[in-house]
Assembly symmetry: C2
């Protein structure tokens, strides 16, 4: 596994870097961003994964997420992967909600997506191994969050790995892709028509099928243009209530779907993670 440094710069006392590697999972070069706060020699820090939404690369949250100040304060490494494989030879779709920039954090089984669109394995296995080998992180202290499609990724990956992630939060997530147009298109396209295969990639279905966590935090803007049709946080609230999961769902009056909402509440999510990441075991 080799990693190329695209850029680094000092920020909030730490280092904001952009890196590239050849992914054996996706068969493409993959770019990601990592912020490492100032820390002591040999110290291994907890890590917060941020999964981004439709159309995004690693750069959107790096530019607009306003996480560095809070991560520096709490000494948390922040990792922002890309949202799909990209490049020549990688299948794409002219729509913004399918193909490049819209990987939906699944391993595609359908053509033309199957050869490269393996974001589940990339985010769950390959990239964590690389981060663990190349950055000063403590794999026993991980948290995950994300925005929109990336909130879907954070919830589903967090629900599938309750022992890996001590903290799972999301900003304006797609909570039930099997029940909304974005998800039906993407999961159908990547995984095929058998909806039973979708359930491992649907937070509400995962909870219905027995996935459990102590708690979840979700911020959702009430002026979000995708709220009623695509996001539907009430479905997550109902599933959590039935399952005894302590969901903190904060409906935020006036906030839309943009990074202006994400950045407003980012410090709260970092603090929520910090409380649960605690000290090294």
């Amino acid at each position: 596994m080799t990693m190329e440094t695209v850029s680094t710069a000092k920020a909030h006392g730490g280092t904001q870097g952009v890196y590239r590697h050849r992914s054996t999972t996706t068969g493409t070069d993959m770019t990601f961003a990592v912020f490492v706060p100032a820390h002591d020699p040999g110290e291994r820090l907890p890590v917060l994964w941020f999964l981004s939404g439709l159309t995004c690369t690693h750069a959107n949250v790096m530019d607009k997420g306003e996480y560095r100040r809070a991560c520096a304060e709490h000494r948390i490494v922040f990792v922002a992967p890309d949202t799909s494989p990209r490049g020549e030879g990688v299948a794409d779709d002219p729509a913004y909600d399918m193909g490049q920039g819209a990987g939906f954090y699944v391993d595609a089984t359908e053509e033309p997506w199957a050869p490269h669109f393996r974001m589940r394995t990339y985010i769950e296995d390959e990239l964590p191994a690389l981060i663990g080998s190349e950055f000063p992180v403590d794999p026993d202290r991980q948290a995950i969050t994300g925005h929109s499609m990336g909130g879907h990724g954070a919830l589903t990956i967090g629900l599938r790995h309750p022992d890996r992630f001590r903290s799972v939060t999301a900003f304006a997530p797609i909570v039930a892709p099997g029940q909304v147009p974005w998800g039906e298109k993407a999961l159908g396209g990547y995984l095929g028509d058998d909806r039973s295969t979708w359930r491992a990639h649907d937070a509400v279905a995962l909870i219905e099928d027995g996935a459990r966590r102590p708690d979840l935090l979700v911020d959702q803007g009430e002026a979000d243009q995708f709220l009623d049709e695509q996001l539907r946080p009430e479905l997550l609230a109902a599933a959590c209530a039935a399952a005894g999961i302590d969901l903190t769902l904060r409906m935020q009056p006036g906030y839309d779907h943009s990074y202006l909402g994400v950045s407003t509440f980012m410090a709260d999510h970092v603090a929520w993670a910090a409380e649960r990441l605690g000290k090294a075991t």
Copy 2:
């Protein structure tokens, strides 16, 4: 004077907006960004102007500047203008440091720039009048800051208007354009070969010629690639020392010229301004 709202969104409890108007000064449409924190009905807030650097529009600091949290806390309106006139029929230069995106906050007297490149009058007169009429600001409580070319703008405009701006700060500013390549090219191009006309647009020269302020704050990264050739903060330090201006020049180890440095120290500049803006008179 009419103003068009391009976009607004809630952020950090306030409103981040982008606006456009037809400038009679530049003869073009001009776009700018304004953040208005939450405030009481009828309350007029102090205002912090942020002037941006080469190649920037209003959007760079809006996306990457991380000012909203601090401005919300201190209840300060934040205004980010564009850096030049733009569009068809506006002169340009293929280089990044001349023409569109590089107005240098002067009123050009030379061709082909003179018809539109009137950023001094735009920033000093026309835009403040518009902001004062359209936003809940208190014109008696103004502060100004900026980055790089915009730091030059903030220092020179602040030095020319000591009674208007209670606080003047800068991030990695061009402090003596008359003595560095960026400035010699731009001031020569916009103002002509008579260097005596440049002195009103050169912070060090303005101080040498008698401009005074109680204090200034400048943050300058030591890893800034433009430090030695273009920025030269030691020239400002010498001029301030000779003139009795209390300059706080913070050389920041490891920081480069990017917005990662600006965003790191932004909260300090907002707090510095807040201390000096104080309460309504």
